[in-house]
């Protein structure tokens, strides 16, 4: 880690462990809310009311729990790395607000749509648009972060629209395509009949689209940032990191087979794998920076007392949270059948 000052002992490990915990939380958020945002993004492409009912029913018991990971991620940053939080949030102000407002629309649509029936069209639109805008804004935030933030004296010192670059817009589009893919794979797994078939038809171009975006980011970032190029292409890193593209290719193949073959859940789990590998790839590019490339996770670390306190809570409570999350997914396992739930 050339050029980075790292402390010793607890001051080294504590922020690192918490950064890993937050990373896992963010990854879980992206995957879990990813599929329910994706279902919303695909909403306009399914025209029948019955199909839309099924789509919404397939995610309705989960969306709230899924979105809680977003709160955990934001709060984790606030607790463990207050400096990073107080730099990143103002820097990504516009896409952040956009995302929050979009989540308002799509969140209430889950309940409002049923009450409004038969005049629920506006909530179909709110659900689809909200999901799309939320996904796009999250991608823009990711891109804006990767592009770097102007920091002076430990504070955000850039302009309001600094986040808006061709790269961040591309990341926004890429994430929308990625969410749509994972949403389509979810529908393949959770629905049956024409709806499932249609989801399979959509999933193929979406997978190709996502791979194109992954390739684009993988080329763009090393060309733009020497540091990222060095991280990936210097020896022996090249050797250690070569599994990342290889695994990506294998998962992409598996996902393709899952979509085209007689499999129920293979496509979904492969798409989840693609998200995880991409996420790991991004982490390799930027770590140990939380605000690339000015603030490391050690620079941004908050009070050790606060970090220990929250870590104790996480260690004790996370098994329970994961346990009942699994319980709910198990309770609502299996396919939502066509026609079910609305007669």
């Amino acid at each position: 880690m050339s050029g980075v000052d790292t402390p010793d002992g607890l001051a080294f490990w504590l922020p690192l462990v918490l950064a890993c915990v937050i990373a896992v939380g963010v990854a879980l958020y992206v995957i879990l809310d990813g599929f329910d945002l994706g279902v919303g993004i695909l909403f306009p492409f399914f025209r029948e009311e019955g199909e839309r009912d099924q789509m919404m029913n397939s995610v309705a018991p989960f969306w709230d729990g899924n979105e809680t990971w977003l709160v955990l991620g934001g709060n984790g940053l606030f607790v463990a790395f207050p400096l990073a939080y107080s730099i990143i949030m103002p820097a990504l102000y516009i896409p952040l607000i956009l995302m929050l407002l979009a989540l308002v629309f799509r969140g209430v649509a889950f309940e409002f749509r049923w009450v409004a029936k038969p005049r629920h069209r506006k909530w179909d639109i709110a659900f689809a648009t909200g999901s799309m805008v939320a996904g796009f804004a999250q991608g823009v935030m990711l891109g804006g972060l990767l592009d770097g933030i102007t920091v002076e004296n430990g504070r955000f010192a850039g302009a309001t629209f600094d986040f808006l670059t061709p790269f961040s817009v591309m990341c926004g589009l890429g994430l929308v395509v990625g969410y749509a893919l994972i949403g389509a794979c979810w529908l393949i797994m959770k629905t049956a009949g024409p709806l499932e078939q249609q989801a399979r038809r959509y999933a193929r171009p979406l997978l190709l689209g996502l791979l194109a975006f992954i390739a684009l980011v993988s080329l763009w970032t090393p060309l733009e940032y020497e540091r990222i190029a060095e991280r990936w292409f210097s020896f022996p890193n090249l050797l250690y990191l070569s599994p990342v593209p290889i695994v990506t290719a294998l998962l992409a193949y598996s996902c393709w087979r899952g979509i085209t073959g007689p499999y129920t859940s293979r496509a979904f789990y492969s798409a989840v794998g693609l998200f995880i590998v991409s996420f790991i790839g991004l982490m390799i590019s930027v770590l140990p920076y939380l605000v690339p490339f000015s603030v490391t996770l050690w620079d941004a670390a908050g009070a050790p007392a606060a970090q220990i306190f929250i870590l104790v809570g996480i260690v004790i409570l996370m098994p329970f949270i994961l346990g009942y999350t699994v319980f709910v997914y198990y309770t609502f396992r299996g396919k939502v059948r066509p026609g079910e739930g609305y007669h």
């Binding site: 729990g65 934001g74 952040l96 308002v104 009450v115 029936k117 996480i314 309770t331 299996g334």
Partner: protein, 469 residues
């Protein structure tokens, strides 16, 4: 001229938090009410408890969704608009909110799925347990967020190093001096708010001659809760006030419109605080009663506003009036509860027209009282965002005022549209009423089907069925 980012950020927080608090205040009580109904149903097997539970679950689902989506922006505003606040007290406040997420949010959100969609998916005992866990989650959530808020009023268990608050003793942080009082006062307020709504809807149905058995149950449960909780709230409020006098005397002085400590203090029933001339105009006051209330002695003394330099005083007018609104509404609730209990005792709860009309029209009282109470305590802490530690003016983010103005405008438009429609939908659900006999599970389709019926979906179909020839 650049607009004032600080003022806009404050308006934004006040606006979003005021919208938000309405929903948790309602759902904290409602989840407990639904869990109670389900337990009663399991115990007695009486249909109307089940119908009521299903009915209120639909309303709960809509309210909870609005609470969730209006709450997420709150947790990000700390960073976007108040990043200096995050930096200075994040070490202390952050973990408290973190524990709220870990102990409450996941619990609520996860078991809400089972509560809403699991009627036929899980065994009844597990469904009831889920409802209880959701209710527990809302209360735990209240515990942590009120602890965090109380710490901003009465910070403890920390030390300041280099301008940053560092936690030293977590128990002292969590159980800071004002927390027990604020927690009890607010949770009771939430249960009160729901009780009034339940009572009011029961009265409305009875006036219209609809759903008589459900309406009577609602009225009994609502009036009974009010008769117990509303007088208790007077006690809790009094204790909270004494605690505030001890730790934030200037807030109490503003609440009372008490400018000068010259002798035994009166209670100002009415007045127009004049902050420039440091006195009340058109004052109507009862001598010595203020001393009795705040010091529990006829001749007790407590500091007046003039004992504090003007730059340490909160905006007196807001605090003064908001406090009065809260107290008047609290007294109204005590009357509603005691009158209901009396009529119940006399066997006339369901056929006393004036009481039914009054109860029907009282549904809003809890909500407004809670908002007034929060305006009192939060405005009363000004000019500090964290009492004695950080001024509100020093807590704001280095963002452009135009960005804050734009987001404020967006929040106002979106919230007004979305939540107005949401409240309209709650009214629609209330109009449709606790219909349908859902006690017997319908014959299950083959295998173990996924049957994620939306809670509100049922009623949609019922109404479609009703409309069909």
């Amino acid at each position: 001229m650049e607009p004032d980012a600080l003022l806009l950020a404050r308006i934004q927080f006040a606006f979003t938090v005021s919208f938000h608090i309405v929903f948790p205040a309602f759902t904290i009580g409602l989840s407990a009410f639904i869990a109670t109904l389900l337990v009663l149903w399991r115990r007695t097997g009486q249909d109307h408890f089940h119908r009521l539970a299903r009915f209120w679950t639909k309303i709960f689902a809509v309210s909870f969704a609005m609470g969730v989506v209006s709450g997420i922006p709150m947790s990000y505003q700390f960073g976007s608009n108040w990043s200096r606040f995050s930096e200075v007290v994040g070490n202390v406040i952050g973990p408290l909110i973190g524990y709220e997420v870990l102990t409450a949010f996941f619990l609520e959100a996860t078991f809400l799925g089972v509560m809403l969609f699991g009627w036929r998916r899980v065994p009844p005992w597990l469904h009831v347990t889920s409802a209880i866990l959701v209710a527990l989650g809302t209360a735990i959530s209240g515990f942590w967020i009120l602890s965090a808020n109380s710490w901003m009023h009465t910070p403890a268990g920390h030390e300041v190093r280099g301008g940053i608050a560092w936690p030293v003793d977590w128990l002292a942080v969590i159980f800071n001096p004002s927390f027990p009082y604020r927690f009890v006062h607010m949770m009771n307020a939430a249960y009160l708010t729901t009780s009034v709504v339940v009572l009011a809807l029961g009265a409305r149905y009875l006036r219209r001659g609809e759903y008589p058995s459900e309406a009577r149950t609602m009225m009994r449960m609502g009036a009974g809760m009010l008769a117990i909780l509303a007088p208790l709230q007077l006690l809790f409020g009094d204790l909270h006030g004494l605690n505030t006098l001890e730790h934030q005397p200037v807030k109490v002085a503003a609440m009372e419109g008490h400018w000068e400590d010259t002798g035994p203090a009166p209670v100002v029933i009415f007045g127009i605080p004049d902050e420039e001339r440091e006195t009340n105009r058109a004052e109507i006051a009862i001598p010595k009663l203020g001393s009795l209330i705040l010091t529990h002695e006829w001749d007790g003394r407590y500091p007046g506003l003039k004992d504090f330099p003007p730059e340490e005083r909160p905006p007196v007018t807001i605090v003064f009036y908001a406090f009065r609104v809260m107290v008047i509404l609290g007294v109204a609730l005590i009357f509603l509860g005691l009158a209901g209990a009396y009529l119940w005792w006399r066997g006339r709860l369901f056929d006393t027209p004036w009481y039914l009309r009054l109860a029907d029209r009282s549904w809003w009282i809890g909500f407004v009282a809670i908002l007034a109470g929060w305006i009192t305590t939060e405005s009363g802490r000004q000019p500090y965002i964290v009492q004695g530690l950080l001024r509100t003016a020093d807590a704001v983010s280095p963002v452009s005022a135009y960005a804050v103005a734009t987001s404020l405008a967006a929040f106002v438009v979106v919230y007004c549209v979305v939540f107005t429609i949401g409240i309209h939908y709650i009214r629609v659900l209330m109009r449709r009423g606790p219909t349908g006999a859902a006690l017997e599970p319908p014959p299950a389709p083959e295998g173990l089907p996924n049957r994620p019926l939306s809670a509100a979906q049922d009623s949609a179909h019922e109404s479609v069925r009703e409309a069909a020839p």
